[in-house]
């Protein structure tokens, strides 16, 4: 494939000159907080409180929150409950596919500190070591009222500009990656080029790159489609033939 060189204007290059920019920012943040599309990654039992929160009884949609089907179109990643280590990989892949700005909500005590699965070998304990969590809604499981309360809190934080977890992921990517590598092994990699994105958003800081990202670059190999085989039926077929 031929590489096309498109000049990218970084925000550092174009200094803001418009005096109304601040007002405009505020408007953008207001709009963002009133139209949130959430991707609920139903990892654990806490997901069961989402249907009532979304449907007519509590009706999240009146706050402008709607479920969304793909990560690329979603603003909020909702982690509902314990994440097994296997699931966590998928959650991180999903998170990195989402477009910025993006927010992560950890519902349930299990995402805070392991919850009742605290001594399980299979679940990750603190979600915020692997992903920047903007808001936790604790409870086992939190009632829809609590979920809505949490959502409203997130709306406030988006409007005031405090919900900046996604920026933190770019700024301290090395730390997050280090924790991920600790759990998944040194050859852990995702298709997303987080460091490139960080410099695109002009968020690359001293914590973006470090020993862990160097390790990532060493281990990185081109991605191949994953294949899974089930070979249970092999001998079955043979038996079927002999019956004929």
């Amino acid at each position: 494939m031929k590489e096309i060189d498109i000049p990218i204007e970084t925000s550092a290059a174009k200094r803001r000159t418009n005096p109304l920019a601040r007002v405009f920012d505020e408007l953008v943040r207001f709009c963002r907080s009133r139209s949130m599309f959430m991707l609920h990654y139903c990892t654990g039992c806490g997901a069961i409180e989402l249907p009532p929160a979304m449907t007519s009884r509590f009706d999240m949609e009146r706050l402008g929150i709607q479920p969304m089907v793909t990560p690329r179109q979603a603003d909020i990643l909702l982690i509902t409950g314990y994440v097994s280590i296997k699931t966590l990989k998928r959650v991180i892949l999903t998170y990195e596919q989402m477009g910025s700005p993006k927010y992560v909500i950890g519902i349930c005590s299990c995402t805070v500190n392991g919850g009742m699965y605290w001594q399980s070998y299979a679940t990750a304990k603190q979600l915020d070591q692997y992903l920047p969590v903007d808001l936790y809604i604790a409870g086992c499981m939190p009632r829809p009222e609590a979920v809505l309360e949490g959502m409203r809190k997130l709306m406030d934080r988006i409007r005031s500009g405090e919900a900046d977890g996604w920026e933190d992921y770019y700024r301290r990517y090395d730390w997050y990656l280090g924790n991920q590598q600790h759990l998944f092994g040194d050859d852990w990699q995702t298709p997303a080029d987080v460091i490139g994105e960080a410099s695109h958003y002009d968020l690359a800081g001293p914590g973006t790159e470090g020993e862990h990202t160097r390790l990532l670059q060493q281990c990185q190999k081109p991605l191949e489609p994953q294949q899974t085989f089930f070979q249970i039926g092999g001998s079955l077929e043979k038996k079927g033939e002999s019956h004929e």
Partner: protein
């Protein structure tokens, strides 16, 4: 269809030596049998008594006796009854024969037990990783695997009394009972 386990099952079981039969209720029978005789028993139950459905194979780790217990749950649609056949095998080396040729669903159960307990089933079609595809530690359901120690070594814990919580506590919220208090046994 009679709801009791039919008498011909009893007759059938008398053909095998060394079995201990305990009737749990009218539709449940527990059979303890020597490991060598289990395939024969299953063949009889399947071929002559209509126990065509293997619902599960489960494994129990009796670490103090240095044994694994394997339980084969068999269901008969005709007599509507459940037979559970219990065997004990030595924990070391933890090898047993597969019953895949009698019951094909056994492949999944055996693969699962192999993954969780490390029991190897000779003749099972596939002993590769099943659910824990990304787990490199020891088989986690074995009793000598200390999950708590592994967790403490792998993960860090969040502070239970962080500073920001004090504000919430002053407003009447916060943690009512700390984990330490909760774990204390009642006198």
């Amino acid at each position: 269809m009679s709801k009791t386990v039919t008498p011909w099952l009893d007759n059938l079981l008398q053909e095998i030596e060394g079995v201990e039969i305990r009737r749990k209720d009218s539709r449940r029978v527990r059979i303890d049998i020597a490991a060598d005789s289990l395939p024969t028993l299953l063949e009889l139950l399947r071929g002559r008594a209509g126990y065509v459905h293997l619902s599960a194979i489960t494994c129990v780790d009796w670490i103090d006796e240095s044994q694994f217990e394997l339980v084969y749950q068999l269901w008969s649609y005709e007599s509507q009854s459940l037979v559970s056949a219990h065997i004990r095998i030595a924990r070391e080396p933890g090898v047993y024969v597969s019953v895949f040729d009698l019951y094909q669903p056994a492949a999944f159960f055996e693969r699962d037990i192999h993954e969780m307990f490390g029991v190897y089933f000779e003749g099972s079609p596939d002993m590769s990783k099943f659910i824990l595809t990304e787990w490199n530690g020891p088989p986690p359901m074995r009793k000598e695997f200390d999950a708590e120690a592994w967790v403490n070594e792998t993960f860090e814990w969040k502070e239970y009394q962080p500073d920001w919580l004090k504000e919430i506590t002053e407003q009447g919220g916060g943690i009512v009972k700390t984990p330490e208090e909760a774990r204390q046994k009642k006198p």
